[in-house]
Symmetry: C2
Subunit: 316 residues, 2 copies
């Protein structure tokens, strides 16, 4: 292979420039490692997220949409911690170095990085039989402050930042017609990342996470890690189809929505609604309450428990 099409040129051409700058960077892309400083009064939150072609996204989908979605899904973990995005490292495995695909991918990545205010710190590009995108994201937190999964207490309200179901109900379209854009595919490819709202929640929320594997399954994480019962009122959950619709269950168990699920003491209700208005959330609704007792999720309707056949996405 001629040198000008080699790995180093490839990386330099598509991933070197045009990303947001970050004043904490001492050394960016292009050496053995990147180097950052941290302001003395801040902590660093970090998460790693992998998306595999034809598992997490259709291999044939437009590359800029794949890139944008992968970065949004990764940064969503920072929002769920109340952290401010600072930078990311990209590990990209590709079956071949298709320049057109790479140019489109880099375009989508840059655009999304600017939308989310996150700089590209470094990366690794490798060859492999399947496209695999791993993004390691990091963000700043005020020292000793963070949103965790283990702080929910009996008496807290359970809140949700927005509608569930659009992304999961987009899957049929996304898989069969990857380039088609509908209201639902918009939710799939451009999940909202509640960065500003997450930061505001630092002052009021007792527990928080972003819903990647379905409401009911992810609510179980808070239940188990906080050792509480998450009592959720089925009729209060905002979904893109009504409760009577045959796809309603999928809205509660399907992944990919990346809404924030959080708990907070009732005395903060007005403040939370004011925060939601401040950052322009379409809605932020109470969907239940935290109770003492077994570490589980309790989905109820008209005072009776509702049992669903599955709780969420299983990776294996």
């Amino acid at each position: 292979m001629s040198e000008h099409r080699g790995e180093f040129d490839l990386i330099r051409r598509y991933f070197a420039d045009g990303y947001p700058q970050c004043e904490n960077i001492r050394l960016g892309n292009g050496d053995d490692a990147s180097v950052i400083a941290l302001p003395a009064d801040m902590d660093l939150a970090q998460s790693i997220d992998t998306q595999v072609a034809d598992v997490h996204f259709p291999a044939k989908a437009p590359a800029h949409l794949i890139a944008g979605r992968a970065l949004r899904c990764a940064v969503s973990d920072l929002a769920a911690m109340g952290a401010w995005p600072q930078g990311f490292h990209l590990a990209l495995t590709l079956p071949n170095a298709d320049e057109e695909w790479l140019a489109d991918f880099a375009h989508g990545l840059r655009q999304t990085a600017h939308e989310l205010g996150i700089g590209l710190l470094g990366g690794d590009t490798t060859s492999g039989p399947t496209t695999v995108i791993t993004i390691a994201v990091q963000g700043l937190l005020p020292q000793n402050e963070r949103l965790i999964r283990s702080g929910a207490e009996a008496g807290d309200d359970i809140w949700l930042t927005g509608n569930l179901g659009a992304a999961t109900l987009a899957l049929d379209t996304v898989i069969n017609e990857p380039a088609r854009q509908t209201e639902f595919t918009q939710a799939y490819y451009h999940p909202q990342v509640h960065i500003a709202f997450g930061q505001l929640l630092l002052t009021v929320a007792s527990a928080c996470l972003d819903i990647s594997d379905g409401l009911l399954q992810d609510a179980t994480h808070i239940a188990k890690q906080s050792n509480v019962t998450m009592h959720i009122e089925a009729a209060w959950i905002p979904t893109v189809v009504p409760m009577s619709h045959c796809n309603w269950c999928r809205c509660l168990t399907g992944g990919d929505d990346y809404q924030l699920l959080f708990t907070a003491p009732p005395e903060y209700r007005s403040r939370i609604e004011a925060f939601a208005t401040t950052v322009g959330l379409d809605q932020c609704l109470r969907i239940g309450s935290v109770k003492g007792g077994a570490a589980k999720v309790e989905l109820c309707h008209n005072g009776e428990p509702l049992e669903l056949a599955t709780s969420g996405y299983q990776h294996f």
Copy 2:
């Protein structure tokens, strides 16, 4: 799939415990993100490294060897910066959740993490057609100190921390008999990581990197980024086969050795040799000198340039 074999149990069982602790961790594995603090006088060096089955390692190799090698290769980038390993995030893509394989992989990962003194901060486990291991490593550096590729100056010596060729010459064995252990496969699966030596080099080296894609190709990075000629004496390069051997070229162009290649002013020769003795390096040899002029690598023997057919590993 029954719940007890689901993703969360899998992760918890194999990746939750038994890794080195790190006092800078505020929140470890098991939430949306990990959180660390940094000592006020330290910077953070970070690198991401991907290994794909049957591209970077044989899929049938023992899982504990694969894990150990992947972590060593990633941490080598920290050594090349002069950084002290602090923690890593693991993104693991697997064709299936084979418990025996996972137990062996986790065993090798834990053991290597203890050898290198690096804690597991978090991860993501996904399903995919091929095993892909991405490791994001990070380490501490004294504020504003680091080994970079761009600092070599005319007159500097060029140094190498050890023999080249064993890992690349092990490939035939590694591919055909993955479980067989020889002196060369030892170099392939357990590359030395020069952590302590890298830190000592912070006080003397003008440029440094770890050789992952072959001496000649990686030397080009220093040449280009420092805008100098890297003049290397072929006969001075320590290799596992002599210059007359048919495999000698492969020692200079094959990857996977992870020795440190660095430059330093001649006045530091005695100090560098003392450092090497201090940390117990088998050898640390001068292999050439930095010259002004074109940004290139100049391999010479008896005053004449030597031309090789290839300079190193091309990822595509």
